[in-house]
Amino acid sequence: MLKLTGVDTFYGRAQALFGARLDVRRGEVVALLGRNGAGKSTLLKSIMGLVPASAGTIVFEDRELRGMETHRIARFGIGYVPEERRIFTDLSVAENLEVGRAPSRPDAPEWTVERVIELFPNLAPLMQRSGGHLSGGEQQMLAVARSLMGNPKMILLDEPSEGLAPRVVEAMGAMIVRLKSEGLTAILAEQSLRLAGLVADRAYVMESGTVVWDGTGRDFLADHEAQKRYLMA
């Protein structure tokens, strides 16, 4: 569904990705693991065209995304939930959802405000509250809900569990499982196994801007040596 090969990305003159690769099949949840600064966020931003990749290919459903404008990439059916959440703080929760809304597409689950609220009941009483007055967890839910409103076929989640209490992380895990059951494909960038350990089918591990390990989620959970090497020490 999405295939990246040899992706190089620069921030100014500092190179952040060195020939990164990724292969995501329809209906999978793929974890993108690695420590801070390993290049996970940059990889997701490169897919979205927010930080343009300078080399390599990024193919989504037979279309080359590299060099394309961000809004077109989004309209092909890729939802993006950034690490900083980037809620529109001037807009209310309902308005944030409205900005994310896009026409439905035949090959993706269709989302309405009602369905999104059903998925995140906590947002229901907050609909008129301004995005700037939400807690971290609420912002995270809104960021996911907002991208779902675009009826994506694939969703890119950048560290959704960051800064969240364990209970909220579990809820987030249940949510991802449910989205998967509805046919949504997901890439989940995480520093830890807190969330990824719950839901990932397969995992890619990044270090210093390149993919250094890949395999099934089960294999990674079993491989304590790899865990220690790539995630911690």
Binding site: A14, Q15, Q191
Partner: protein, 251 residues
């Protein structure tokens, strides 16, 4: 002897506590690593010590002075030099001029509108340049340097103020393996020859455990644990935040 003493440091961003009551010390000549996951509050702590941010609560004592909330330029004059996550130098100037300006500022000679800078502080600037191994780059414009060289120049600029404490925000980020080695051995040498204390944020654990005398782990705005590298490396709580074992077990 305690050089830097941070107590009860707090900083809010839009109602969320990025740093929620942090205490730590750095002794003279000590090398301390500050680690923790994204959003733990490391850079925010740094920016409060360096004067780029004003704390919402807490005290920062440096060498007998209370520096919390003071201007960055005043803090620098007290003897704290720093580098930034994204290497920052004066891009339009040559390498040598970058160092001259820092040295001139240190000697309070920047108000002079008449002398030509060409001949000022040249010897001291070249000396600093030699210390970071960049003598052959003196006349290059900073904008033309490779990233590794830029980081070394940034370090040299920070040293121009003869600091007793260096704050290094991710010194090896954006560098390849070999460049990392060069930079870290440079920092080791500086620590030995100048007896300067170093507090650094770092994600490369080889660098952390290879160079730090003590490690402070931050998580969600608080100090989770601090101690010798071996103690920290084997602490279950540290494993939890990095590996998320709690969640795996719960599953």
């Amino acid at each position: 002897m305690t050089l830097l003493a941070v107590r009860g440091l707090v900083k809010y961003f839009g109602g969320v506590a990025a740093v929620a009551g942090v205490d730590f010390d750095v002794a003279a000549g000590e090398v301390v690593a500050l680690i923790g996951p994204n959003g733990a509050g490391k850079t925010t702590c740094f920016n409060m010590v360096g004067g780029q941010l004003v704390p919402d609560a807490g005290t920062i004592h440096f060498d007998g002075h209370e520096i919390a909330g003071r201007q960055a330029r005043a803090i620098w004059r007290l003897g704290i030099g720093r580098t930034f996550q994204i290497a920052t130098t004066f891009a339009s100037m040559t390498v040598l001029e970058n160092l001259q300006i820092a040295l001139l500022s240190h000697r309070r000679r920047l108000a002079d509108p008449v002398s030509s800078i060409k001949s000022l502080e040249i010897a001291a600037a070249r000396d600093l340049l030699a210390q970071v191994g960049m003598t052959d780059r003196a006349e290059r414009q900073a904008a033309e340097l490779a990233y590794g060289e830029l980081k070394r120049l940034e370090l040299a600029v920070a040293l121009a103020g003869e600091p007793r404490l260096l704050l290094l925000d991710e010194p090896t980020a954006g560098l390849g393996k070999s460049e990392r080695g060069v930079l870290m051995s440079l920092i080791d040498r500086v620590v030995q020859t100048r007896r300067v204390a170093v507090l650094f944020i770092e994600h490369d654990m080889d660098v952390v455990f290879g160079h730090a005398g003590r490690v402070i782990v931050l998580d969600r705005g608080r100090v989770l644990i601090e101690g010798a590298p071996d103690v920290v490396r084997n602490d279950e709580r540290v494993k939890d935040i990095y590996l998320g074992r709690g969640a795996v077990v719960a599953c």
